[in-house]
């Protein structure tokens, strides 16, 4: 077991809490950077996709995992980012200028949607965001001038830094760099007053308010920040798919993002990466399973959504802290061996919350 001897407040403020952290994370980035040496184009594409999913997951994690607000329509932001990016590129705006515009646009769309919708809570909010997803899909169909409607919109693949997005090694590096940047941005927000205010809203709105947190403002801000991350992921997704059609941004994609954060572990940024790896490889896993199932079941078209639903319910019931939570438990088990107690992670019930104020 490691005991950290703290001598400065900055040790609590810094991202890496000790040299061990610094070593492992640097090693991870080095390995990620070296992957193109050993992997072929197909797997690099898969991992690029997982990076994109992680960025979108960070967005939804900030909203749901940290601020405690559900969203069942987050594919809408992927769509906003993807269409805005494709539109700007089509009109000759270079990649490096388009990305910041995409981030700002998605931020503003998030704020504009967030302000009215966030008066709702719980189930009502979930239904409203579900509706939002459908409305967005409709807008993508109808606003033909901007999106090409049902005909779709080809995504230009311009040169960037003298390289082409068709080059899967280059695209992989772009996605990786954006994921690392997004991670740093998210960590920074979460170790600042704004991130703490989000957590405060999640755990007790009434206390947050009494400490000076403007609930409406911070909920809208959380929606906007969440939108900005997800919009950025959408822009990268546009390059990945190459051709945008409205039905890409459907409810199934929204549920995939939800599955990602639940499986990864609510309230943890590590969880977004674990979750993205899981949902990124899930379709292949399901495809393999299909081959082994009797054809009457294996060829059912509804198999995927049903499995997604089952996995979601399984995690909520049996592994509410997700893969990251399981990882922490295993780590603690070995650190404390042989004195680990199962009760360590049992939530204590000290008093009832019936009479809240």
């Amino acid at each position: 077991m490691r005991f950290i001897f703290k001598t400065k407040y900055s040790q609590d403020i810094n991202i890496a809490k000790h040299n061990g952290d610094r070593f492992w994370y640097s090693l991870l980035i080095l390995i990620m950077a070296a992957l193109p040496l050993v992997l072929d184009d197909f797997y690099l594409g898969e991992i690029s996709y997982i990076c994109i999913l992680s960025i979108a997951g960070i967005g939804l994690m900030i909203l749901s995992g940290y601020t405690g607000l559900a969203s069942l329509g987050h594919a809408a932001f992927l769509g906003v980012g993807a269409y805005t990016h494709a539109f700007l590129l089509t009109n000759g705006i270079p990649f490096y200028a388009s990305i910041p515009i995409v981030i700002v646009v998605s931020f503003l769309v998030g704020a504009a949607i967030g302000i009215p919708i966030l008066r709702l809570t719980g189930m009502y909010l979930a239904i409203a965001t579900l509706a939002l997803g459908f409305i967005a899909e409709h807008v993508f169909i109808k606003w033909e001038h901007f999106t090409g409607g049902n005909r779709g919109l080809p995504v230009p693949q311009p040169e960037f830094l003298g390289m082409s997005f068709y080059d899967s090694v280059f695209f992989y590096y772009v996605c990786l760099v954006f994921l690392i940047a997004a991670m740093f941005a998210a960590i920074n927000i979460l170790r600042s007053p704004t991130g703490r205010a989000f957590v405060a809203i999640r755990d007790s709105e009434i206390a947050a308010q009494s400490l000076g947190v403007n609930l409406g403002l911070y909920k809208a801000l959380s929606f906007a920040i969440s939108g900005a991350f997800t919009g950025l992921a959408g822009a990268l997704l546009a390059h990945y798919i190459g051709y945008l059609a409205p039905d890409i941004f459907n409810i199934f994609l929204s549920l995939t993002l939800l599955l990602l954060i639940v499986v990864g572990g609510m309230g943890s940024l590590h969880g977004t990466v674990f979750g993205a790896i899981f949902v990124g490889f899930l379709p292949q896993l399901i495809a393999i399973c299909r081959d082994y199932l009797p054809s009457s079941i294996g060829s059912q078209p509804g198999l995927e959504p049903m499995l997604f639903g089952l996995i979601l319910v399984f995690f909520i019931l049996y592994e509410p802290l997700g893969i990251y939570g399981r990882w922490m438990k295993i780590k603690l088990f070995f650190e404390l061996f042989p004195t680990y107690k199962r009760q360590t992670f049992k939530k204590q019930k000290v008093f009832t919350k019936s009479d809240r104020v």
Binding site: A185, S210, L211, F351
Partner: protein
């Protein structure tokens, strides 16, 4: 002139008047205790001050300023902090994070400086931490900085909530049943701390309490409520011997 004044406050929930034409004033530097049986309207009064409940009638003045229309999230900026009867801590956060939220009203950074964690954001974290550490020392919370609230015993949680309120650097502190659920020893410590908050930090305190020996030890003045109405108010000895109060409490 009083630091804090409540004038003719009435609060109704449906037909029930939780508070009925309540008026009183609290002087600067006082420990002012509100007593009364369950359901008397004590917590409702705090929730009116916090602007969580809207009174149907009456006004509240703090430092001669009418705060009856102030937004709930601006109350703490004026210098009024509170605790809750049933604890409202941020359960899945550490003690340190809970206390740092007590500094939220002093936030100067905007979202951009936070995304890039600029030197000014870092400096602000240091400044927050200095104040938080003062409070940690004051309330003996050194052992719990990095513990999640979830894993703390009840007495420590109550202490953390008090600490969080102190981190806002309040002028007026509202404590809703601070001793309920504490052991005898913890209650004794609490008594000393409350006296210290008054004398060392110069903070005025309004406290809701049930434990009468505790109330008599720390209070400067007491107000007794029953069914939303003021039963009596005065010095501890006066309240102790008041016939109406005895009646309400013991049914004598």
């Amino acid at each position: 002139m009083s630091l804090f004044e409540v004038k003719n406050i009435t609060v109704a929930f449906g037909g029930v008047k939780a508070l009925n034409d309540v008026s009183f004033g609290v002087d600067k530097g006082e420990i002012f205790t509100i007593i009364g049986p369950n359901g008397a309207g004590k917590s409702t009064l705090f929730n009116v001050i916090s602007r969580i409940y809207e009174p149907s009638k009456g006004e509240i003045y703090f430092e001669n300023q009418n705060i009856s229309k102030t937004k709930p999230h601006n109350i703490s900026k004026l210098g009024i902090a509170r605790t809750f009867q049933n604890l409202e801590l941020f359960e899945n956060a550490t003690v340190l994070q809970n206390l740092l939220l007590g500094r939220h009203i002093y936030k100067k950074t905007n979202i951009l400086s936070e995304v890039f964690f600029t030197p000014s954001a870092r400096k602000q974290e240091h400044e927050y931490r200095l104040k938080v550490e003062e409070v940690i020392d004051f309330l003996d919370l050194q052992h719990y900085r990095d513990t999640l609230i979830n894993g703390l015993p009840y007495g420590v949680r109550k202490n953390v909530e008090l600490a969080r309120a102190l981190c806002t650097d309040p002028k007026l502190l509202l404590l809703d049943e601070p001793s309920s659920g504490l052991t005898n020893e913890e209650t004794i410590d609490l008594g000393f701390w409350i006296k210290d908050i008054q004398s060392l930090l110069g903070i005025t305190i309004i406290m809701i309490e049930h434990d009468m020996s505790f109330v008599n030890k720390v209070s400067d003045r007491i107000l007794a409520l029953n069914y939303g109405k003021i039963l009596a108010s005065g010095l501890p000895e006066e309240i102790k011997n008041n016939a109406d109060v005895k009646q309400a409490y013991m049914g004598e």
